[in-house]
């Protein structure tokens, strides 16, 4: 190699080594390999050389060009890598910090419980029916075989409202959602299978009673519905609701004006631990019975043709049992701490295939 080419090579190599950022590197590249770069100048000068010198010089220049091109590229990659490394170091953050808070909302345990009941009864072919909170006393009592003097009415502690102007009808806050059953029987042709979850009201306020609470009543009417179906339906509901396939369920004779035979339903539990399904004790959870012939007839159904069963359960009560909630009053106090503790995730609705 000619001395001048060796000098150029050494110059460029040292300049590349001295270029510590991409800008300096690019200057070296342009000054060497660019249009008016030093190597380019030498290559241009090649044409003016005598032919005998040209060949050897051409070979040497081409070799030098390959060498320098490679050196420039290598250095360029080094510098890029170094720049990236520096950026990565500079961009580092403390990933141990918490992200900005997002506020999670929750569903009230009453909603959740109604959802679970709807899912289970829905699977048994029940539809959900609704009715007004303010009922006539006919819908709430008389149609249900509970006339004004009936001793059962004294158990109810009914809230009364003034009659609507121009209408001589006693209005009450419904003490049960049975009015929905009455409206369903009046308005639809059997066979019927409905549940009616909703607000109910009784003039009672202490540690275990709230003047407003929720009930879920159910009604089944058909040609051949028996008390055996009532038992099957409620046993299956209770076992699914509490997630205990072996839950002990006991049926006791009782009395309600609107059913005959009437019964109350207990589940097995432990008084000591509150454990549902375990222990030696029984806990009453709902009332039920075969729809009274008079109730069917009050709604225009011939009890010789149609029969069925009805049931009613306290939603808060079942929610308390299932979730271990100790105090009834807390349901209505809107205490965010309580709502977050017992509330349900809105993205996990009660779906039978996911488990209620």
């Amino acid at each position: 190699m000619s001395d001048d080419l060796e000098v150029l090579r050494q110059d460029v190599v040292s300049e590349l080594a001295g270029a510590t950022d991409l800008r300096a590197w690019d200057a070296v590249r342009v000054a060497t390999l660019g249009k008016s770069g030093r190597l380019t100048g030498l290559l241009k000068a090649l044409g003016k050389m005598p032919p005998d010198e040209r060949k050897a010089r051409g070979v040497a220049l081409n070799r030098l060009r390959d060498t320098l091109t490679q050196a420039v590229e290598t250095r360029g990659r080094e510098l890029e890598a170094a720049a990236l490394q520096a950026r990565l170091v500079a961009e580092r953050v403390d990933v141990s910090l918490p992200p900005p808070a997002t506020v999670q909302g929750y569903l009230h345990p009453i909603s959740r419980t109604i959802e679970e009941m709807t899912a289970i009864f829905g699977a048994m072919g029940f539809g959900v029916a609704q009715g007004p909170d303010i009922e006539t006393d006919w819908h709430n009592f008389s149609a249900l075989n509970t006339p004004a003097h009936h001793p059962a009415r004294t158990d109810h502690d009914t809230f009364y409202l003034p009659p609507q102007p121009g209408l001589d009808v006693t209005r009450v806050l419904r003490t049960q959602t049975s009015g929905v059953q009455i409206r369903t029987m009046l308005g639809q042709k059997p066979p019927l299978r409905i549940i009616a979850p909703g607000r109910t009201y009784r003039a009672d306020h202490d540690a275990t009673h709230s003047p407003m609470f929720h009930q879920c009543e159910g009604l089944v009417v058909g040609h051949d519905i028996t008390l055996g179906h009532l038992k099957g339906c409620l046993i299956e509901f209770l076992r699914a609701f509490f997630g205990k396939p072996d839950l002990p369920v006991r049926f006791r004779s009782s009395y309600f004006p609107f059913t005959e035979p009437s019964l109350e339903v207990d589940i097995g539990w432990s008084r000591k631990t509150g454990d549902i399904g375990g222990g030696e004790d029984w806990l009453e959870v709902l009332g039920a019975g075969m729809v009274h012939a008079r109730v069917l007839a009050n709604c225009g159904l011939d009890p010789r043709v149609w029969q069925g069963f009805a049931f009613g359960m306290g939603i808060e009560r079942l929610a308390m049992l299932k979730n271990g909630i100790p105090d009834l009053r807390s349901f209505y106090e809107s205490d965010i701490r309580w709502l977050r503790h017992y509330g349900a995730d809105p993205l996990a609705p009660a779906l039978l295939h996911e488990g209620v």
């Binding site: 809230f159 007839a297 993205l347």
Partner: protein, 819 residues
């Protein structure tokens, strides 16, 4: 209804254990509420005798006694501080290890001031059963040492409390309970026969009835020459065991029959009755002093018993002070009557007066029993108080109570779900007192016993006024045909036990059930989840609030004010759930929550009816974060909540307009109403009015929304067209319009959107400016417009043309000019 095991044994011959009895009671519909064994705690205490008592050598007030308490404790030394501890008396001894309930200690053997003491001598107070504490209890001289005190004192009895359902008046006496248990297979009902007492003279007092609807039949007789005073021990103990206070022999005897046979009686002091006639009649607005020491004013609806001086008793409920029996009574007149259940119930409620007697009359007493019951009561009075009985006097007559009922045996299966053999069914009914009148292979006809007034009643219907008459008539005939049969099915099932009925699965309508929720209810559930995922937590508030709060939130009509509220601040049906949510903001804010988000979906009440409202509140300030300052809640969040909710309900938000006329509980300048089309109000939102917050004592900003769920129309179920997905890049252009302050900004955006429905695919707001660069009274609104070509990329000329159309459309709609 309370009773003791020993009382039950008076009527029931049984070997059943307590557990079996309780299980049977529960099964047959006599629900056991509690079982109390008062004697259990007193079992370890022993009867004993002090054989020797000497002064304690080291203490003036103590005595060292030697006690014989029977086997194992024949010669125990006990140190005792009671002044009456002396040799020879019979006492109660607590051996070491005994828990003493009155002192809440367990006795240990030890030494008291140097003298050994191997137990304790007790007072009744220390046993937890008496008030007396002046020394230790002294038992009768003939007491034998070594018997458990519980057994000795008859405190070994178990008290069972059962709930009697309103249909079972017959079970309000121990005998009725025993009959049911015997029918359920737990022994035999002992025979009961009233021993008659021959009357030896004509009763100087007679009955008359002028209110036969309230009292069909009444009996009575005079017993003269009685000595009233404390009842004998057995009677007092019986009454005390079920929580009744013994008063005097005459009164205790009436109470005894009230609970033993469920048969209320009343005794008048015959010498205090004015005249010779007691009349069962309408009350006459007069005041009457009852035996409870209170005055009651009876109305003409109330049935009373009056003498010449006036009202002496409210029939079937309570007698009067003026003619009551006391220790000086020598002649009594005993009343035994049938009173109408409904009349008694209504009188009781009208007067606010209830008694063990009215409780039984309301539920129906045995109409065949009065003659025998009066004989039995007379016998007991004569036995316990002496005296001489008159002949029986009466008025009215025994009403016809005889009824029959028939049962097709197949109904046990087809209604009750349990196939019970015919013979067994009949046998069970007979044990309950039903008598077979006729029977064949398929059915039986029985006479209903007098005490079962709940079986085979004549049906009372209250048929809906909108049931067509012919349908109503057929249905009523159906009831008449089968109700009594259902009564009998219930009786047989009750005795068999419902646990015997095999559970059957409801026949499915289809393998895969249809939706349980109507589309409307399903949308409500979606709304609920949507609000919670937006960070709001669901609450449930009472439907009634205070009248004042309701007023603030738009309405407290008198027609929605409870006539009998449970508290004065829970008397008005709420006009919106916001009332409760605002209160919840207050309480949670007071607990220190800085960032509150709550919602409720529930009823709101107005004079024209009830509607479902989804309401929410956001209160306080957002949380700080590096680079993010804490911000007060913004009305935009509330508007977004409302809009997102409407979107979830299927509302096309392009059709929603906002007007600035929200109701008075919102800040008038920072609130709005969302309307679908020009009229239909579907939601309200905004900051709550500052003066409302101030009045409530809330010192944190609050924004709220209310979506009127019932107003939102059902979305049309349309099949969606396939989307047009363009292959070409959208073009975005910014425009700034200067527009008058009074022009809703929404109109600018809507005009842009409407300028070219094909090309304009989105419009968004990026700037609102007021200041020196725009004229007074106007503002600049900056919007970004997205143009989406479908066929090919836009040319410059096309872009220019659509921009001009946009400017023209906005200008036409709002008077705005391009800035």
């Amino acid at each position: 209804m309370k009773f003791t095991l020993s009382w039950l044994y008076d009527h029931l011959d049984t070997q059943a254990t307590l557990a079996e009895i309780c299980a049977a009671l529960n099964q047959i519909g006599l629900e056991v509420e509690s079982v109390e064994n008062r004697g259990a705690a007193l079992q370890p205490f022993l009867t004993a005798r002090i054989t020797q008592a000497v002064q304690h050598p080291n203490a003036d007030r103590l005595r060292v006694c030697t006690v014989d308490a029977g086997p194992g404790f024949e010669n125990v030394q006990v140190v005792c501080g009671a002044p009456n501890a002396r040799a020879g008396i019979a006492v109660i001894f607590a051996p070491p290890g005994t828990y003493v309930p009155g002192l809440d200690i367990t006795i240990k053997a030890g030494a008291i001031r140097g003298e050994k003491s191997g137990g304790m001598l007790c007072s009744l107070r220390e046993l937890g059963i008496g008030e007396e504490s002046n020394g230790i209890a002294e038992l009768p001289d003939d007491t034998l040492p070594g018997e458990s005190y519980a057994d000795f004192a008859g405190l070994d009895d178990v008290v069972i409390d059962i709930a009697i359902t309103p249909n079972r008046g017959d079970a309000l006496g121990v005998r009725g309970i025993a009959r049911d248990l015997a029918a359920a297979g737990l022994g035999t009902l002992r025979p009961w026969l009233a021993e008659t007492v021959e009357g030896t003279f004509a009763s100087p007092i007679e009955w008359a009835i002028t209110y036969p609807e309230a009292c069909p039949w009444i009996l009575g007789r005079t017993i003269r020459g009685v000595r009233n005073g404390p009842s004998p021990e057995w009677l007092r103990r019986k009454l005390e065991s079920i929580g009744l206070r013994p008063i005097s022999a005459l009164v205790d005897i009436t109470n005894y029959f009230c609970f033993d046979l469920g048969r209320p009686l009343h005794v008048f002091d015959a010498n205090k009755i004015a005249g010779s006639r007691l009349t069962v009649c309408h009350g006459g607005k007069e005041s009457f002093l009852a035996l409870d020491g209170k005055n009651y004013t009876v109305t003409s609806e109330d049935c009373v018993i009056a003498d010449q001086a006036g009202v002496q008793s409210v029939a079937g409920i309570m007698g009067g002070e003026a003619t009551g029996a006391d220790d000086a009574t020598t002649d009594v007149f005993v009343e035994c009557a049938l009173f109408d259940p409904v009349k008694v119930a209504l009188s009781g409620r009208r007067l606010g007066l209830f008694s063990d007697s009215s409780y039984r009359f309301e539920r129906g007493v045995d109409p065949a029993l009065p003659v025998a019951a009066l004989e039995a009561a007379t016998r007991m009075i004569v036995d316990l108080c002496g005296g001489e009985a008159s002949e029986v006097v009466s008025a009215g007559e025994q009403p016809a109570w005889q009824r029959t009922a028939s049962l097709r045996f197949s109904r046990l299966q087809s209604l009750g779900g349990l196939a019970v053999p015919a013979d067994e069914s009949v046998a069970l009914l007979e044990k309950l007192g039903f008598e077979v009148r006729s029977r064949d292979d398929l059915s039986v006809v029985v006479d209903v016993p007098s005490w079962r007034n709940d079986v085979a009643q004549s049906p009372i219907l209250s048929q809906g006024t909108d049931v067509p008459p012919d349908i109503a008539r057929v249905a009523a005939e159906g009831v008449a045909a089968i109700e009594a049969e259902s009564d009998l099915v219930e009786e047989v099932l009750r005795l068999k036990g419902l646990d015997a009925v095999p559970a059957a699965t409801l026949p499915p309508f289809s393998a895969v059930p249809g939706a349980a929720l109507t589309p409307r209810l399903a949308r409500t559930e979606l709304a609920r989840r949507m609000l919670a995922t937006r960070g709001l937590t669901e609450t449930v508030g009472f439907s009634f609030v205070s009248n004042e709060a309701a007023r603030v939130f738009g309405g407290a009509p008198e027609s929605l004010r409870l006539l009998n509220p449970i508290a004065s601040d829970l008397d008005q049906m709420r006009p919106t759930p916001l009332v409760n949510l605002t209160e919840a903001v207050k309480t949670n804010s007071a607990r220190g929550w800085a960032d509150i988000g709550l919602f409720e979906i529930g009823p709101a009440f107005a004079e024209d009816g009830q509607q479902a409202i989804a309401a929410g509140v956001r209160a306080g300030h957002t949380q700080r974060y590096p680079g993010l300052a804490s911000e007060p809640v913004s009305l935009w969040a509330a508007k977004a909540d409302a809009l997102e909710l409407l979107r979830a309900l299927g509302v096309n938000l392009d059709a929603i307009t906002t007007t600035a006329d929200a109701p008075g509980w919102y800040h008038p300048g920072r609130s709005g109403v969302l309307r679908q089309g020009p009229k239909l109000v579907v939601a309200r939102f905004g900051e709550l009015h500052p003066s409302l917050l101030q009045a409530q004592g809330i010192d944190t900003p609050v924004v709220a929304f209310e979506v009127l769920l019932d107003a939102v129309p059902e979305p049309k179920r349309r099949k969606k067209a396939a989307p047009q997905l363009s292959a070409f890049q959208p073009v975005r252009r910014d425009f700034a319009f200067v527009v008058g302050d009074d022009v809703p900004g929404e109109n600018v955006l809507r005009a842009v959107r409407g300028a070219d429905r094909q090309l304009v695919s989105a419009v968004s707001l990026f700037d609102v400016y007021k200041g020196p660069h725009v004229p007074q009274g106007q503002r600049s609104i900056g919007v970004e417009v997205t143009l989406q070509p479908m066929e090919r990329s836009l040319t410059d000329a096309e872009l220019e043309a659509v921009s001009e159309r946009i400017v023209a459309a906005v200008s036409k709609a709002t008077g705005a000019v391009l800035r």
